[in-house]
């Protein structure tokens, strides 16, 4: 069972992302509606994969990403964002994001992310 944490202030965005996740293996999915509660849930749950949005109230996604990667450098964090600027992508990767998932996600794009994660974990 893979533990997934989805952090996004938009319940619609969370629903879209979750609906695109693969159905062929069991996932335990937890949601958070802002960056700060996302960080708290990360610390309690220790999820296998965390998806975070960037534009969020209370605490933005970059801050959450930075904090998670500092405290748990082995964690897998995927940034799911509508912000497609090259500078944003560069910053996310420099902060240790595993991958970027451009919104709106699709079944195919999410499957590719999961596949890349599996490959990465298989090589470790």
């Amino acid at each position: 069972m893979k533990k997934i944490l989805v952090v996004d202030d938009s319940p619609v965005a969370r629903k879209i992302l979750i609906s695109c996740m693969p159905k062929d293996f069991p996932l335990e999915i937890t949601e958070a509606g802002d960056g700060l509660s996302g960080l708290h849930k990360f610390e309690t749950l220790k999820p296998d994969i965390t998806f975070i949005d960037l534009t969020m109230p209370v605490m933005g996604g970059m801050e959450v990403l930075e904090s998670i990667r500092k405290t748990s450098p082995q964690s897998i964090v995927v940034v799911a964002s509508a912000d497609a600027q090259p500078t944003t992508q560069e910053r996310c990767m420099s902060l240790g994001a595993f991958a970027l998932l451009r919104k709106p996600p699709s079944v195919v794009s999410v499957a590719e992310i999961f596949s890349a994660i599996q490959d990465y974990l298989g090589k470790k």
Binding site: T55, T87, K103, P104
Partner: protein, 215 residues
Amino acid sequence: MDISDEKILTNSEKEILQEIMNIGFGAASADLAEIIDVHVILSVPTILVLSPSELLSYIVSEVGPAKDLSIIEQNFHSKFSGMAMLVFSTGSGKDFLFMLRKENATDLFESESIEQFEKEVLKEVGNTLISACVGKISELLGDFATYSPPNVLTGRLADSGFSKNILDPANVVIMLQTCFNFSGKNLKGYLFLITSHDSIDWLRQSIHLFMKQYE
């Protein structure tokens, strides 16, 4: 029409539209990065239903007095039709001049004066942001938008520049708003997409169709 009536847009429909806008604004910022050399920080989009008489005072409360504004307005046409307004404080054209990537600046140097040059820059920025944003929203909702040429209103002109069809009292204004914050610069732009109740029925149908693919 009672604009506070949830029959215009329910909270659930507003949430869906907000996420669609978020995606549209994200696409717009990426397109803008092709012509200016500054990172854009996006804000969480806002959706408001207003009467036309409330629109100007709302914009002024968000952005500043009407005479100190530069406004790029552009009509868009599709089943979701209306006007897009990109609003900056006066003098922003000069700020954008310095942010332009060199390969995009050369054509604009043919302008006759600095004021004209600034206007052309604002037009370029406005056209890029508006068409990317509206285009993406239309695409997500299964439609295709076309555009009238953008129009730049600056200084005193901005005071009287709001199109009459927007201020038609028979309209309900649905305002979709975000703020583009330009990193490291004291420069903010507000993008308002203004549509009327003529588009509402189609908008609501297409919002529900959009979400159906995720159920």
